[in-house]
Structures are given as structure tokens and as C-alpha cells.
Amino acid sequence: MKRQIPLVIVFVFGTLMVIQYFVPHENSEIVKGFLLDWIVIIGIFALALGLWSLVQVSIDKINSRKENWEYPLVTLISLTVMIFFGFTSHAEDASWWGYFLAIAVLLAALWMLAQGLMGNAANRNVKSLSALGLVIVFSLLAIFDGSWEFKFYTAEGLTNQMFVHFFDYIMIPLQATMFALLAFFITSASYRAFRARNLLATLLLISALIVMLRFTPGPWGEYLAKTSSWVMNVPNLAAQRAIVIGIGLGIVATALKVILGIERGYMGKG
């Protein structure tokens, strides 16, 4: 029964969605809208599950002082701080100290709570009580400190100065830097691995050079641009189309296998 119910659900809804795609009727659209809502709702639960899993794994790593345990600590602090900024707004011209104090108390409360729930058995009650105390302090700060307030039902937190600054000045430079490092690896790899070992490799090398050189200044620039355009529009297009058709057929075959219950990997065990 545990295996059959998921198979029936997948078969019924998979078939329904396939049929729905080809039926341009109002009722068909209603059914689709209803099912799409369900997917979003299930997705939100998956998000919560993922968050809980991340917190659990991180706390375990920190408590047992595994290698690089500092990184999960940074992850947890960043997670809490960004959620806090996203759900609060700060009054203009008000002092920031109360806001930062509230974050510090919230982080301490969550840490104590996590220790109370997942830490060592010893001192578990003390930590839980400490967490409760800190939550009360945090609640008092939220109620009586007028410099900031929670905004659960509006999107004011998304324009919160701290939320925007953290994204602009931490997230963007970090991700951009990680990606920029690729340039160095590509340069090194191109020097070592991009070799004309045989005819096919030589053809690949020549095509790559033409495409890369197409924007170089000089009298040959236009000629290279035209040649590059031909490379992209004829041999590349032919090969890509073959790949796209192959992938498309593969997707149809896999979808059919899933709907018919032949492919059961999604249930955890193939």
C-alpha cells in the first residue's frame, strides 16, 4: 500500500496534466490552476523541511567541532539575520543600536534553543530556560523599541536598508568573485588541455579560435565575424538541434516511465 498509493497518484495526476495541456477549455484551466497551487504549497513545505535540515546539520557540525565548523556558524547567523531584516523595517533617522541589540538577542535565543533541543543532555533544561528568557527579552524589545518593527504582512522588509545593503555589498561581491575565479582556471586549463591531438580536436580548436577572435579589431574582424556567424548558424546549429531532439525524446520517455510506474527513483529507492 505504501508503494501503490504514490504510484496511483503519479499516474492519475501525470496523465491528467498531459491531457490538460491539449484541452483549451475553461474547466481544464481551472483544474490546472488548482494543481499548480498544490505544487506551490508542497514546495513551501519542502522549503521548510530544507531549512530544518540545514539547521540540524549545521548545529551538529558546530557542536561536534567537525572540520570547518566555523562555516555552518556563519551560515546560521546569515540565515537568521537576513530573515530578520526581510521581516522588519527600521524607522528613518532612528538609532540603529536597538535594532542591532534585538538581532544579537534573537541570535542568542535561537542558539540556546537549538542547544536545548539538539545539544548534549547535560544542561538541556538550563539552556531551554535561557532560551525562554532571551525570547522574552526579544519580545519586550520588539514591543517597546520604537526604532524598528515587524512587517509580516507587507513587503517593507524587502526595501529595508540593511536587507538591500547586505545583498548589494556582501552577496553580490561574493558570488561575482567566485564566478570571476573561473577565468583563471579556464586560462590555465586552455593552456594545458586544449590540444590539437587529432583531427576532431583540431577542428574544435579552430572553431573556438574563430568564435573567440570575432570581435578583435583589425581588417580581419569583419571576415572573422562572418565566419563565426557561419560556424554558429550551420555546424553548431545542426549539432545542437540533434542534441535538443535527443533530449526531448529522452524527457518524453522518462516522463512516460515515471507516469507508468516503471521508473520509481522519486520514491527514494529505485
Binding site: Y21, E29, K32, G33, L36, I39, V40, G43, L47, T154, A155, E156, L158, T159, V164, F167, D168, M171, I172, P173, L174, Q175, A176, M178, F179, A180, A183, F184, I186, T187, S188, S190, Y191, R192, F194, R195, A196, R197, L205, L209, M212, L213, R214, F215, T216, P217, G221, E222, A225, S229, M232, N233, N236, L237, Q240, R241, I243, V244
Partner: protein, 289 residues
């Protein structure tokens, strides 16, 4: 060990150092890279140029900060063109970090449009771009394939409010706008598989004009859709953005970035050639022995 063997075993740190020197030198030098405009980019520019003031374009910003260097200039060039032509813009961001990218782009573009400027040979007084009148940012929702499909029925299904929490029906430019039938074109600026969903679930089902702005490495994959007319135009990487800036006679981030990209690419090509000369010379010597 002869010269070629030494060349083959060059420490990678020398390669890194040379790349850094080339990039820094190019960055601080003052020269312009001439740009040859390709038909794929021109198709998008011509389409936007032909639209009447008040028409709506849909810009899907589907990239994260990691692709910012390549794709942000594209967004800036395209959206500035649209605002200069008094078009209205609907933004979405279907990648997790996309909302921050849109938010930043809107702030930068609206700030720059406040200043008087000559654009495409025409002098423009500074003007205010107003949220809800000139643009709407719908925000982010997970499961892009579902979002793209649902927007074909009505934007309000998954975006009852915009990113800033204003109900769509209260937004002046959105009052009579319900789905893809009410917009002129969708431009997807993307660094990932969201583009496939725009082609399959969006253009394939709802038949709207779709243009793409992609990272350089993705571009080659989407030529089949260009030829089949599922995609009407394609901007590839920083070069695509530079071509758009060239068409609009409005040098910006992309033309600036090309100053660094060109010497860096030439260095990579030089390394490939040196590597191959070393490889062929070593192989020739081995055969001789």
C-alpha cells in the same frame, strides 16, 4: 630539459599572474573596442525601436550575482532603451537571487535617467521613472515552469501583489494587463535552465515574441530556436550587450567591460597557441627519437 618541455610544465601561477596583469592594464587603459553588430542582437534592438510609446515589454531577469558581469549590462542597455522610448516594463525574477538584481538594476537605471543625456543622437532631459506607471516588478516565485505557465492565464494567479506588496489591480499600468496577450515581447535575460522553460512552457504554448539574453557559454545551445523562429533575437554574453549599446549609440557597462575581456581573450588564445606549439614540438621530437 629543453625549452618546449619547460614550456609544457609552466607553473599555473605564472598564467594567473599574467592574466591579472593583462586585466588590470586593460582596465586602467583608455581605448574602445570596435563592435561588429550581429543580426541576432539587431533583431531585438529593431523590435524594441519599432514599438510605440506606452506599449509594454516583459523583462525576465533570471540570473544571480555570479553572472552579473555578463548579464547586468544587457539588462541596463535594454531597459534604458525601453524607458527612453517611453515603453512600460514588467520585471520578474525567477531565480532565487534575481529579485536583488532587479532591485539594483531599477535603482541604477531610474537614477541615471534623472540626468540629462544624449542617447542615440537625441538629447533627453532628465525624467523620473515611476514605479507602477513606468514599470512594475512582480518579484520572485519558486518553480519557474509553473510560474511561466500560470502567467499565461493571468499574472494575478501567482503575483496578486508586486514585489513591494502593492496589489496588481492598484497599479495603474497593470489594470488592463492580464497575461502575455497584453505585452509586446518577453525578453529573458538568463544564466540557466529557466530559458528552456520560457521556450517550452512560455513561447511554445502562448506564442509570444521571445528574445533571449544569455551568458556567452550558453549562447551556442539556443541557435536552433532562433532558426525555428521560437526565439526572435539573441544577445550572447558581454559582446551581445556591447552590440546593443553600439546600436543605441550609448556606450555603457558592456563597452567598458569589453576593454578587459578582449585582451583577456587574446591572452587565452596566445596560451592555447603556445601550449599547442609546445605539444607539437615535443611530439615531433619524440617521433624523431
Amino acid at each position: 630539459m629543453n625549452f618546449f618541455s619547460k614550456l609544457m610544465q609552466l607553473d599555473r601561477r605564472w598564467v594567473y599572474l599574467l592574466l591579472v596583469i593583462v586585466c588590470l592594464t586593460a582596465y586602467y587603459s583608455d581605448f574602445t573596442v570596435p563592435t561588429i553588430v550581429e543580426d541576432e542582437t539587431k533583431a531585438i534592438y529593431d523590435f524594441i525601436e519599432a514599438l510605440e510609446p506606452g506599449e509594454i515589454i516583459f523583462v525576465a531577469v533570471d540570473y544571480d550575482p555570479s553572472s552579473q558581469a555578463e548579464l547586468h549590462p544587457m539588462t541596463y542597455a535594454l531597459v534604458e532603451h525601453a524607458f527612453r522610448k517611453d515603453l512600460k516594463v514588467i520585471f520578474t525574477a525567477l531565480s532565487q537571487n534575481g529579485p536583488g538584481m532587479v532591485d539594483q538594476a531599477i535603482r541604477d537605471i531610474t537614477d541615471s535617467l534623472k540626468l540629462p543625456k544624449t542617447y542615440n543622437g537625441i538629447f533627453y532631459e532628465g525624467k523620473d521613472i515611476v514605479n507602477g506607471i513606468d514599470y512594475t516588478f512582480l518579484g520572485y516565485k519558486p518553480y519557474y515552469a509553473i510560474v511561466i505557465t500560470a502567467m499565461g492565464q493571468d499574472y494575478r494567479i501567482l503575483f496578486p501583489s508586486d514585489y513591494y506588496g502593492t496589489p496588481l489591480d492598484s497599479i495603474p499600468m497593470m489594470r488592463r494587463v492580464h497575461n502575455y496577450d497584453d505585452i509586446a515581447i518577453v525578453v529573458d535575460i538568463s544564466s540557466g535552465s529557466i530559458t528552456d522553460a520560457w521556450i517550452s512552457y512560455g513561447q511554445g504554448k502562448f506564442d509570444f515574441p521571445l528574445a533571449l539574453g544569455l551568458t556567452g557559454v550558453m549562447t551556442a545551445q539556443y541557435y536552433p530556436f532562433l532558426q525555428s523562429k521560437q526565439v526572435m533575437g539573441l544577445m550572447g554574453g558581454l559582446l551581445g550587450a556591447a552590440q546593443y549599446e553600439q546600436l543605441a549609440d550609448n556606450p555603457g557597462l558592456a563597452k567598458d567591460g569589453m576593454r578587459v575581456q578582449l585582451p583577456a581573450h587574446l591572452l587565452i588564445i596566445l596560451f592555447i597557441l603556445i601550449g599547442n606549439v609546445g605539444y607539437l614540438a615535443t611530439r615531433y621530437k619524440e617521433r624523431k627519437v
